[in-house]
Symmetry: C2
Subunit: 330 residues, 2 copies
């Protein structure tokens, strides 16, 4: 297979934005394109938008589709990697969408599909903060909490590819209601959604906070990472307290994962970690150290913010495609 | 290697009893010997007692040491399987004891050593309740809670062999104090020790219970599984309530493990499960089903009591030794 065929387009299909990166065989990013994800459209319309974004990225890289070895997508939901079928993606309103098949028909290039959290973790493991470790746990914190376990370069998939749901492990039995319908999941106490719920409750109970004003000024309906960052810069006491509480729970979650998986490295990704970096991760790390079963783990288990930022998913998708192409060459 | 050399002695080195089974290559148990573990003795004295118990078992099987391919031991603590070194075994008061080397010097037979929970899980996976599954989680509930993850026949070890500590994952943040010094671990709310603490607290607060009387009558200082079974037969309301509460937490622990590892089977072993069987496991199962992230998992993930009883550890040690002998033959 000629080298020019190994240029890969990685796509991160997020609920808010659609991102494509064109990467050459030497890990050089030749182009990056980002656009809002069309909302309230049919799967076919969204898939045409993905094809368009891929074409745009290829054009920005001064290439044509013929130069592309594969397009590889991280999608937010449960995905069958073998068939490229998206079984369920609640954020997109998708059920049983044959993404790989449909996009391939439009682009006439092989198309791979993986779960967004899985490919994000693969990205951090291969090209980002997890580089050099054999066993890594990835925890992605945003509106939800996703997890992925990588061991000797392979995603730990379990019996049906459903492993890694750290966000839906209960850490506060009988605690707050989670989006999944259960109580006390890590996601219900440590996600951005949980933090927003706590901020709103504090304001309702009479506490003073600038968070709602920042949201209004910036035209945001939700407490995004940038809203959080701004409130923290203004030393908003409600935001500070709520964040601390979430970091405490996230520290426990990280320690649970370390006690169960015994990795060398835990990478914390997602919007808040990208935006706040060490400010977000340092308190999580110090709680986790306290909850490690083996005290010596504090010296050897690294807990790091992701280093690929918003590109973790798209770059991880590229890594996935390379492994697939290599497998095909053998 | 002649078949007669493949007779193996499996040993379970427990805090209370020492057990040896002699197993032939066709999984037939030729002899079983059980004796109380000598307490408050030096490692050398205890190791001589192990050698003696092995010899007794071999004698009961009408064999001589020459017929034995290996002795394989499950020890309660952190073990380096490569060297047969017991790094730390708090129940025995051991630190850095070269068990394999010392026992081999006495018996002149290859000696393997594994962690008791790990070998117990391997036993249930290969010969017991987990048979036929590819991915299994083992949870052993006694004075503590141990866990082991098996995936495609291999123990999931993590980066330093420390994986699987499900008993020390926090499921009730800020909950009761655990033996490990942290708060709210599964062990602190679901182990027999936790149940005894709750029974004593209920009695202290004025609730009526037959548990202490049963303990006195049977000369037990601790609330053993047999004490629990008798109190339940007498429909002791304190015992019933405390058990139910522990089963609730254990159900959450099982669901956490299923959501993270996506196994086909969870085997619940240890003294209480051996004694109470389905009475113990059924309520755990129904809580776990409620906490599964993927509702369909309730149809496909089996949650079963162990089927090897007290012999899980010794038989698992035999399985371990066979794998080792096969590896040597290759």
């Amino acid at each position: 297979m000629p080298a020019k065929r190994e240029i890969i387009v990685g796509v991160d299909l997020g609920g808010t934005s659609l991102r494509a990166v064109v990467v050459d065989p030497h890990d050089q990013t030749l182009a990056e394109v980002k656009t809002p994800t069309p909302v309230a459209v049919t799967p076919d319309v969204l898939i045409r938008a993905i094809a368009h974004t891929v074409d745009e990225a290829v054009k920005v890289a001064n290439l044509t589709r013929k130069a592309i070895g594969a397009v590889s997508i991280g999608a937010p939901g449960s995905v069958d990697m073998k068939t490229g079928m998206v079984n369920r993606a609640p954020n997109l309103g998708w059920t049983e969408v044959p993404l790989s098949k449909k996009l391939k028909a439009l682009l006439r290039v092989p198309v791979l599909v993986g779960n967004d959290v899985h490919v994000g973790a693969i990205g951090e493991y291969t090209l980002g903060a997890g580089r050099g470790s054999e066993h890594m746990v990835g925890i992605f914190i945003g509106t939800g909490i996703g997890g992925a376990i990588i061991t000797r370069g392979q995603l730990y998939q379990g019996s049906r590819g459903g492993a890694g749901e750290l966000g839906h492990t209960v850490i506060v039995a009988d605690g707050p209601l989670c989006s999944c319908g259960h109580h006390g999941c890590a996601e219900a106490v440590g996600s951005r959604t949980a933090m927003e719920r706590e901020v709103r409750a504090a304001i309702k109970s009479g506490k003073k906070s600038v968070v709602l004003k920042i949201m209004k000024d910036r035209g945001r309906e939700r407490m995004t990472s940038s809203v959080m960052a701004r409130a923290l810069r203004q030393r908003d006491p409600v935001m500070q307290h709520v964040l601390e509480r979430a970091q405490y729970y996230l520290g426990i979650l990280v320690a649970n994962a370390v006690n169960v998986f015994d990795p060398e490295c835990v990478v914390i990704g997602g919007g808040i970690a990208d935006r706040l970096g060490e400010t977000f991760v340092a308190p999580i790390r110090s709680v986790a150290y306290r909850y490690f079963l083996r005290a010596r783990d504090a010296e050897r288990v690294k807990i790091l913010p992701g280093s690929l930022g918003d590109n973790a998913g798209a770059l991880g998708a590229v890594v996935l495609a390379r492994e697939w192409l290599q497998g095909r060459q053998r």
